[in-house]
Symmetry: C2
Subunit: 343 residues, 2 copies
């Protein structure tokens, strides 16, 4: 570990992993949970997603300290129907629940052509792309949705109903990392508004409403009022779909239920996640390679005009991080080190 | 049939159905195709979607006249995997292919918890909501996607790659019509730009690009250039997902392939459609009613603040049409009557 420059600390990915595990174990997580959660943070840091890197140690530690997380929950796997898998996370973080269910999901997708995995009763603080990427790397097409806390107003309204409700999708590519996207159905990430608030900067007046339902440029007012969805009524419709698929459809909470269950503690959202996996071999049989090549032609037509594929920036950062390590801002590093037991 | 006022002709829904069948049979469609296609147009007219009502008789007749449609294709149903159904439409319109596959799809969704139906080699001119609504009325959750012709540029580019690539979703509701949305991932419907062109009106400069890749307010230039996706890079990512799911994944064409296959004839898009159906009983078992009631609470929270559910306007029009019939603009009625054999 060496200082990269005055403002940052350079760490290898192994050092990030070790640090994350120490903090999470120190915060009280069981070893299995600490290792699963640490991998998500290593992946975020590695891919240049600073807001989903080890910064999230602070977020996770907060949820643990507030009693929102079952620190040693043992996920319980069941098979409610032939092509369905359920993992009851028992109130623990989502990562271990996904790890415990993903192999059965992949097996069922291969056996039936399509399958779905529901994670129930899990705490969410992370992006969804690690999950779709893991499945796409096994050759499966994956679609993942999860609600969050009710922070977002439906189009035509000004009161929060939806969460930031991300949608993530993964598509396997031969000889390279998968095509992956993962975005919130809110107009912007909540963290973006939080950054404006901390910096004392106004937000654009189409990001959200204050608690009285009036458009506002005051970041704090949006945070205590309601965010907007992206894309007007279309984004709002998608946000509703996410609520339905990963809430009532799998017997779990909506974003309003999650925020009520938080009861003002300020912890991460609690609830469900739905993961649909499709095996391309199901429809394509022996012709898989031929048809996946046609997908490559489409990617080529996008890149040939200078447009970027959604996952491209992450993969470029990954290639750098693996050889050069990552740089953690000094202030963040200090805040994290303060959480290390015995430091 | 009576004149409603000087500009329109009032028809009952049965009269619309009879007229549509006569035109479609006269154009050469087999009886099975004519009846399936007519039902879609009756549904559009009934629900106040004029652009998907019997106006589409002109669109369908054009595709038939141009030789784009196999007028008497007999759909072939197969089961490539245990939870997958495929219907090869043989180059005919999509409606009959869907009718022939939907029952097996519903059976498989109930047997396995989740299932998918691919329609291959079908001609598309219609909205997707009739399909998701039919499945949701059987108690299933449905997600449907289809590519079209390559008319839409990816975010960050200006050359067409994607189709207007709609996404439709349906959710069953006890005691009422389902929650349904169906929207193009393009910024606007192509027909909207066409209406501006006919009226000689400029379009907003964020709807599309001319053939040189420059933003333009000239509707004709956008039609021969490229439309934009809705919602920036997020809408663009969804448009790519639609291409992948209902193109390469099911062994069918992308929107670029469809436009090439059209070879300048100006017919409707040809290709595939993917329909995913999930049975709520799979995850919920005996607790279905309890959890669907929680979805109703979310719908209530949306409507209580004066926001509309996506399907609400259609259902209100439907209630009126069933008792009052519909009014067809006089000019459209004349154009349609010119297609009736022997008139």
């Amino acid at each position: 570990m060496t200082d990269a420059h005055v403002d940052g600390v350079r760490l290898t990915l192994d050092e990030v992993r070790t640090l994350a595990r120490r903090v999470l174990l120190g915060a009280g997580l069981s070893r299995a949970h600490a290792e699963a959660v640490a991998e998500t943070m290593v992946a975020g840091e590695r891919d240049g997603c600073a807001s989903h890197g080890i910064y999230r140690l602070l977020v996770a530690a907060n949820s643990i300290a507030k009693g929102v997380v079952a620190v040693d929950a043992e996920p319980v796997v069941s098979e409610p129907a032939r092509a369905l898998v359920r993992v009851d996370g028992g109130g623990g973080f989502a990562q271990l629940a996904f790890e415990r269910g993903r192999q059965r999901l992949a097996e069922k997708a291969r056996a039936y052509g399509i399958a779905a995995l529901a994670l129930n009763n899990v705490v969410h603080f992370a992006a969804l792309w690690p999950e779709v990427e893991a499945l796409a790397e096994e050759g499966l097409v994956a679609l993942v949705v999860t609600p969050s806390h009710a922070w977002v107003a439906p189009a035509g309204g000004t009161q929060p109903v939806f969460g930031t409700n991300p949608i993530a999708f993964g598509w396997p590519r031969a000889g390279g990392p998968p095509f992956v996207f993962d975005f919130a159905t809110s107009a912007v990430a909540r963290g973006e508004i939080e950054l404006h608030r901390r910096a004392g900067k106004p937000v654009p007046d189409d990001w959200g409403y204050d608690a009285d339902g009036q458009p506002t440029t005051d970041a704090a007012a949006v945070l205590s009022g309601a965010m907007r969805t992206f894309g007007g009524h279309k984004g709002s419709a998608l946000a509703a779909m996410v609520e339905l698929l990963a809430g009532p459809l799998i017997g779990d909470m909506t974003s309003r239920g999650s925020l009520e269950a938080d009861a003002g503690r300020g912890g991460s959202p609690i609830g469900g996640e739905l993961i649909i996996a499709i095996d391309p071999v199901g429809f394509l049989g022996d012709a898989v390679a031929e048809h996946l090549a046609r997908a490559e032609a489409m990617f080529g037509a996008i890149e040939a005009q200078g447009a970027r594929l959604p996952s491209q920036r992450r993969y470029a950062a990954r290639a750098r991080s693996v050889t050069e390590g990552v740089v953690i801002p000094a202030a963040l590093y200090r805040d994290i080190m303060a959480l290390v037991p015995g430091e």
